[in-house]
């Protein structure tokens, strides 16, 4: 995305999210998002296999009838 695309994205996605941005704020937000876009571009260059699952916090509760503690290190 170039600067113009990012600004257009900010304005469109802000509407979708219910955020009212005046022009000055939209410009500032776009400059911040441009920095994030640059970092995202770096990550795009890193090869990830389909088996690379997200690192996340979710862990199911231990089933009520099991006695052993599940999943803790």
């Amino acid at each position: 995305m170039n600067e113009m695309h990012i600004l257009a994205y900010v304005k469109a996605s802000a509407v979708a999210q219910g955020l009212a941005l005046d022009e000055a704020r939209a410009q500032r937000v776009a400059s911040h998002l441009a920095r994030t876009a640059h970092l995202a571009q770096l990550l795009e260059g890193f090869p990830l296999s389909v088996e690379a699952e997200p690192a996340e916090l979710y862990q199911p509760l231990a089933f009520a009838t099991t006695r052993s503690k599940v999943g803790a290190p």
Partner: protein, 469 residues
């Protein structure tokens, strides 16, 4: 009682714990000295946003009553401390550095770690300043004023736990609690010249603290000595099945960190961590390496990508967390960060998911590094404390935006979840200001980082310095 108020003020928190235990001074005397120091200095420093003196008097009196009954004292009995104002304190509103949260109901109970401190006998003096909702590295808080660096009042204290760093540096309290998502304990520890510990991700419970980024948030202590840091860390440890981010299933006490580093494989991080460090920051690492007998340069895997992924996830989760308020009352947010929060709320899902998928691969690569090393060294900040209001910092001739760049060297490490002690060093070329060195260990090996820290302290390489306030 054998100590005068002046003598009490000159003792570090570890010595105070011993003095109270030995009956050389009472918890109430120590508390009075700490409150007097806060009243004398905080007009200049602005570390405290709230003071819990009535509670502190009750807690100190309870310690003295225990002693009077001849009962055993817990490990931190009578030692004053304070907490970043994102920790719940029963009966107080948890501000998290914001104006918006002022209208929230007071906390019904203490945060889990505040409860642990109380059980250990510590005495809570109040809440400490921070960047709004922890999104910043400078504690230039528009609502509550900037926290000033006690070593140079024109400069920032670092953030987002800036009040936690400044309060220890100013000698107001010897122990504070902070949070660290991308560097928020290590950056203020570095800029204020105090010890800080960011434990392994998932080691300490975060229950009862106001979140910033659920995926990366850590809590931990700052202190005036390695001995206190270890003592507090052990007191804070406890599994907590009610915090989904607490992965510790048992307590692994550090105990005495004075075991030396013989046999430990200690290396110095090069590449990204060298390139993004100023000459004084590099000198600080060299001094620490010399004291630890470390000379080998080590490459941390994919540091720039780790920082990128941490940045993206932080922005997206932080923005999402506050989206309702951003929709309806954006003007009540911190002006220095509100646009970043909005940008975060608009982050495309693909970027976030890719960053989370990368994190799993990254974790494995970083863990593999610790097959060969026990402790790795790197600067905690690229430079010493910038002036309050500075928009840019210079790193080896390149201008970087000041506020986000102070975390350049801490973000890749916390994203992998490794424990880190930030050690306060005083390199040349900083006009007398400190720069911290990160002592990084494999996940769940806080003990190794603390042992290295104790060697630096014993060698006189890393230590606090008195301030003129």
């Amino acid at each position: 009682m054998n100590h005068t108020t002046q003598e009490i003020g000159g003792l570090g928190s570890f010595a105070l714990a011993r003095a109270i235990r030995a009956g050389d001074c009472s918890a109430c005397e120590v508390l009075e000295a700490s409150m007097a120091r806060i009243e004398r200095t905080d007009g200049a420093v602005n570390a405290f946003t709230g003071k819990s003196y009535p509670r502190a008097r009750q807690e100190a009196a309870a310690v003295d009553a225990l002693r009077a009954r001849g009962e055993a004292l817990p490990p931190l009995a009578g030692v004053p401390y304070a907490v970043k104002n994102l920790f719940d304190i029963a009966g107080e509103v948890t501000l998290a550095g914001s104006k918006i949260n002022r209208s929230h109901a007071p906390a019904a109970q203490d945060a889990f770690l505040v409860g642990r401190m109380q059980a250990a006998g510590a005495v809570l003096l109040g809440g400490l300043n921070m960047d709004e909702y922890a999104y910043g590295f400078t504690t230039e808080n528009t609502h509550y004023g900037a926290t000033h660096n006690p070593h140079d009042l024109t400069r920032v204290a670092g953030g987002s736990s800036g009040g936690s760093g400044a309060a220890v540096a100013a000698g107001q309290v010897g122990i504070t609690l902070g949070s660290d998502t991308n560097g928020s304990i290590r950056v203020p520890a570095s800029l204020c010249g105090v010890w800080g510990l960011k434990p392994t991700f998932g080691r300490l419970s975060r229950r009862g603290s106001y979140p910033f980024v659920h995926s990366i948030d850590h809590l931990g202590p700052l202190a005036d000595s390695v001995d206190s840091l270890a003592l507090v860390y052990d007191a804070l440890q406890s599994p907590d099945p009610l915090d989904p981010g607490c992965h510790a299933s048992s307590v692994q006490p550090v105990g005495d960190p004075a075991q030396g580093v013989k046999g430990l494989r200690i290396g110095v991080l090069g590449g990204y961590f060298y390139d993004n460090a100023s000459a004084p920051a590099r000198a600080a690492v060299t001094a620490a390496a010399n004291a630890l007998g470390a000379s080998d340069m080590v490459e941390w895997p994919d540091a720039a990508l780790g920082r990128a992924a941490a940045f993206i996830i932080s922005a997206a989760e932080g923005g999402s967390l506050h989206l309702d308020d951003l929709r309806t009352r954006a003007d009540d947010f911190e002006p220095l960060s509100v646009d970043r929060f909005i940008a975060g709320a608009l982050t495309p899902a693909h970027w976030v998911l890719r960053a989370q998928r990368f994190r799993r691969v990254y974790r494995d690569r970083v863990n593999a590094l610790f097959q060969h090393w026990d402790v790795l060294l790197a600067p905690a900040t690229p430079v010493a404390a910038p002036e309050i209001g500075a928009e840019w910092i210079d790193i080896n001739g390149t201008a970087h935006p000041s506020r986000p760049s102070m975390g350049l060297l801490t973000q890749p490490v916390s994203f992998a979840g490794c424990p880190v002690v930030a050690a306060p060093l005083w390199p040349p070329g900083t006009a007398g200001l400190p720069i911290g060195v990160q002592l990084i260990a494999a996940p769940w090996r806080e003990d190794l980082a603390l042992r290295a820290a104790h060697v630096l302290q014993g060698a006189g390489v890393a230590h606090l310095k008195p301030v003129a306030l």
